[in-house]
Symmetry: C3
Amino acid sequence: MNAITEKTAFLIGEVQSKIPLVHQITNYVTVNDCANITLAVGASPIMADDIAEAADITSISSALVINIGTLNERTVQSMLTAGKKANELGIPVVFDPVGAGASRMRNETAKAILNQVKLAVIRGNLSEISFTAGLKAAARGVDASEADSRRDAAAVAKRAAEQWDCVAAVTGAVDYISDGHRTIAIYNGHKMLSRVTGTGCMCTALTGAFAGACGDYLAAAAAGIAVMGIAGEIAFETAGEKGTGAFRSAIIDAVSLMDKTVFEKRAKIDEI
Amino acid sequence: MNAITEKTAFLIGEVQSKIPLVHQITNYVTVNDCANITLAVGASPIMADDIAEAADITSISSALVINIGTLNERTVQSMLTAGKKANELGIPVVFDPVGAGASRMRNETAKAILNQVKLAVIRGNLSEISFTAGLKAAARGVDASEADSRRDAAAVAKRAAEQWDCVAAVTGAVDYISDGHRTIAIYNGHKMLSRVTGTGCMCTALTGAFAGACGDYLAAAAAGIAVMGIAGEIAFETAGEKGTGAFRSAIIDAVSLMDKTVFEKRAKIDEI
Amino acid sequence: MNAITEKTAFLIGEVQSKIPLVHQITNYVTVNDCANITLAVGASPIMADDIAEAADITSISSALVINIGTLNERTVQSMLTAGKKANELGIPVVFDPVGAGASRMRNETAKAILNQVKLAVIRGNLSEISFTAGLKAAARGVDASEADSRRDAAAVAKRAAEQWDCVAAVTGAVDYISDGHRTIAIYNGHKMLSRVTGTGCMCTALTGAFAGACGDYLAAAAAGIAVMGIAGEIAFETAGEKGTGAFRSAIIDAVSLMDKTVFEKRAKIDEI
């Protein structure tokens, strides 16, 4: 087993023993799945998006996840306020710029968050992370599509990481995670994941859970993304033939049963 | 096989090959199910309800679905703005007047949408469509109930279609869909569908997916409603005895596995 | 069978025959589960949270459930308005003070509701009900945790009931329900329930359904909480080994199949 696999496998137990509280300001489409996958991996979710309590809730949490899937004027303010409070207290912030590139509002919000909040991790598909890195990208919807070429994904992850001095992850058929110095590739996952809404959001939620349990955010992102990919593989094996409803439920099942042994056996993680 | 069945069956493949992006401004109760069923049928969902981006998102979409299940003052404005933009660009608008008749706010919102937005399809239960057609209706809750007599359903569909110059669908034990000239009956479905929240909303989401892939909105509505009905039958056969949780998941499964062959074998669609 | 078990078992049929409409102003994390479990037990849910219709919807309902899981400034006003309307019309109000103690906003909102709305039932974990009773409590997240000692749970339930002249329920490993005079303990449930989000919210939704069908709110709360606990046991037996995704779905299944016979056979309810 290589060093990065060993490090990430170790984090499975860390989350389960530390039970980090993960504050999530996220979208109302996949919020239930995000809460359940956070619980499944052994952490504890708390969703709170009003400006009057966002900073208070962040203050008692171990990590903050910001997801702009169904942003609105009200919650954007809460995201910024919570993000700044997290920075003040040294709490890691994980950002999912859902649909960045698809509307001016999303673009401006993503930029505001990037400029005003110091991030631990940013995770998205190739279009979204390209946008955050100032590269041309054509977003189409919010779910992964064939249009997401992986050609430049590793380079885009590295560039976003350098630009924002954080860990950046471009997820797709192969996932690339970079801190600007090191870049990791994860070969787990299954294409059926793109037929269920929220698998990207859940991936970000898992990353938030690991970031809340470990100060090494490159490893935390790798753990979150690899757990999601492995869960997708297991879910396909156990429920793929039944359809996407059963598959979706089986993803949560797989995460809830994930342990160090399963993870080590299945993880395909390499530094590139 | 009759002509309308042939036409609707053809649309299954059309959605899968065109992958229409379906913008949905909908309620937070069933939004996850709507997103997942949209993906299951082969289309791509995008949910966005802020006034600052609603028109932008509609502009890049192939169809717009408006559902007032949990409307609020903020999202009503977004619905109207997105609807007008869709009209401007010739993008079909599918409207689900959830709970119309149950509160003054719902009534006024439904009327505002009907008056300000040119609809491709309106779908609801008998109470809701009766309300939109200016007929007396006593809504009770938002889920289909025994109170929904099918006695006048075909006539109500026809009248709503004539009044708003669109396709109108009244779903129930038998579904009736009219464009004012032709009226279609669909005999698929299962009564267990009324024990799961959101089966009406999902039906509307499916109709949005088909309308995004085909300019014949009578056929699009028939396809969406028949797919939902057939999925309900299959889900009952595979999971009905287990309970409503398993049944709900099996609905998504059935849609995700639906193809032209399954559809043609099961569809019970007739012009009346 | 003791008297309280007999009384609560009777309510299973009451809900199924009366089909109470339950207005729920609740959080967007678990709202779909709340709607589905309300349908599963035989009642009818309606979610509506805009101030312009909250009172209208309450007026046509048999019970009102208020849950502050993802409260915001807008919905807090709707909660108060709906609550007062319910009081005016003699409609029971069931309150779930999710996360009370975790932020000043939650604390103030919980107090405002307690002071301005006469409640039929208040249900929460030990931290939350302790807070409402003016006792020291350290909330951590919104899901039940080991930190919730049951040592004082019965006393806390009794004190909250006395203070607010309502039925108060503290749920946990053992559930305690008091009207200030009588206190009931329920020994049903399974620890896996704490690994799924919304099991507390669903418990409150069920209590709302029973309160909408029966004026004896102590029995209604006991029925709601016992049904949830029994469903957790059955779900663990049928799906526990598969993981928390399958378990979650199996909870809804179990409620949808629950009848008087199953309930009487499994219920472990005692007056203490």
